[in-house]
Symmetry: C2
Subunit: 286 residues, 2 copies
DNA sequence: ATTGATTTGGAATATATATTCCAATACTAT
DNA sequence: ATAGTATTGGAATATATATTCCAAATCAAT
């Protein structure tokens, strides 16, 4: 049965690896470890790099049900076609040249979805796995979590409040109800965690809350637009997100995605096992 | 001076675009917008897709200093070689750094970003442009806008409140302060618009607010998970969004993206011209 | 309208690439 | 050790692809 996707091909590689001949094993290892080359190089180049003869490569492809090398290569090309975005793609320039006069809403939607997909790409590659681990560890060890984000960051803080609340994680939103953000910040205790979401131009209110938390011995987790944000020195961990910016308007999709990841990762860490069933039940009315 | 990287090539494209002949302009636009194809396809395939003759493509490459198409194509291949990694490769890397079994935060991040990118893809294709136009028109004509979303939808309603507020658009959030959502809903006037964001299992509170608005002669704009949601009959316009769902957890990125699109489209409709400069100034502290 | 310059697209040509076939080599079972 | 089977690599062949050349078409200036 010939694999139809790169993912299926990887499955078959894993399953059939033991039964392959010596040379075909070598090809399999190269194929598994070099998807770019598999898509971009010629059969002769690949064979040379893998240390085998071109006809061995063709026989490898035939073994898995492909009619030849070209058909195998197509799997790799398709994956790139679907998932690769060139970071330098300048959506803004392109759209400006097209967008004279009236701008239609669906044209805007197109621009925004494209830009946000690029931004999500960057997010996945740009976040240091160790910082992420650190962040989740911090949350896991905290007696109590406080979350603060104002202006454009406010929806993100509300998402944290929603998601963590649903996990029976103690989470307090510093939401400025009755302009009482200072009173809310004064509830932060030693060893608590403050999640502070902050973007340029950096809010003085958020900075003030960070200072309070820091002074009270809490750990600060920063989600920020840049590493060099004003409160960086006070943070235990900084996760930087560059959300999409289209026609001068900044999005929130990547930050929301990161927020969700943090919450769910924390859930996994605290309640290994029946966790997903709990989530299914906990999809609250909205 | 022949460009050595894809980024340099883009610079040259921007600089020299105006001075190109008609056909070479067309090639330039295709080259700029289709880096995957430029790397993966043959000269003949690319020429066909771009609507030009293969020799035009070669002349294009020559114009920018390349000896031929193959040399130009190499820029695109090099970029993929450097920046693309497929899902299976990323999983391998993460497992290597972390070991088996436990779900790592960065693995989760990868899953979420992938799923959300797909969801954004579907959003762009799934929204009927006429419904979108209708929605923006509705907002444009409204004396006043009210926005309501509870639970997971609350961050979206707060985003509307933030964005519209910054455009000097009169927007009232029905946020349940002091459990006073009914009092807030009673401020809805005839011909106002209620934006209601609601997902399954559908909130009775949101439905009740929709009913109130409808009874008071307001227009209801629904952003919902399905067309067949309970309050559909009361809506002037329905925009449906299927947000990503990963391991039973639902995201919000596509809904946020749609919200942003609606707000910005409204801005464009109301203030053609110096609108983007206004937006740049209006990036508030967060 | 005419002329000169530039661009274009088609066809021929040169080059590259994938595939097929088979003799030589290696492996396995008796 | 021998025979049968499987694998390999090389060369020939078939196919695909990039490049070059040039007549026709288009454009711009007078």
């Amino acid at each position: 049965m010939r694999p139809a996707t790169l993912e299926q091909m990887r499955d078959q590689l894993a399953k059939q690896h033991g039964a392959l001949s010596r040379r075909l094993k070598e090809v399999g290892e190269y194929v598994d470890g070099n998807p770019q080359s598999m898509a971009l190089d010629t059969a002769a180049e690949i064979a040379k790099k893998a240390g085998v003869h071109p006809s061995t490569l063709v026989r490898f492809a035939n073994h898995f049900g492909f009619s030849g090398f070209t058909e195998l290569q197509k799997l790799f090309k398709d994956d790139i076609q679907r998932n690769y975005s060139d970071y330098g793609q300048r959506i803004q320039r392109q759209q400006r040249s097209r967008g004279e006069g009236a701008v239609s809403p669906s044209q805007l939607l197109d621009e925004f979805t494209r830009a946000n997909r690029l931004s999500l790409n960057k997010l996945s590659d740009g976040i240091d796995p160790q910082q992420l681990d650190l962040a989740v560890g911090l949350l896991d060890r905290s007696p109590s979590i406080h979350v603060c984000g104002v202006g454009r960051a406010f929806p993100v803080s509300m998402y944290f409040a929603y998601a963590l609340g649903h996990m029976q994680v103690q989470c307090h939103a510093i939401n400025g109800l009755g302009m009482m953000q200072d009173a809310q910040a004064n509830c932060i205790a030693r060893n608590d965690v403050l999640i502070a979401i902050t973007f340029s131009p950096y809010s003085e209110i958020t900075q003030s809350i960070i200072n309070t938390a820091f002074d009270r011995g809490a750990k600060v987790m920063l989600i920020a637009g840049e590493e060099s944000c004003p409160s960086a020195a006070k943070a235990e961990v900084i996760l930087t997100v560059k959300d999409a910016e289209v026609r001068s308007f900044r999005s929130l999709t990547s930050t929301m995605c990161l927020a969700q990841t943090l919450c769910i990762a924390l859930g996994y860490r605290r309640q290994a096992g029946a966790w997903e069933d709990t989530a299914r039940q906990a999809n609250s009315a909205a």
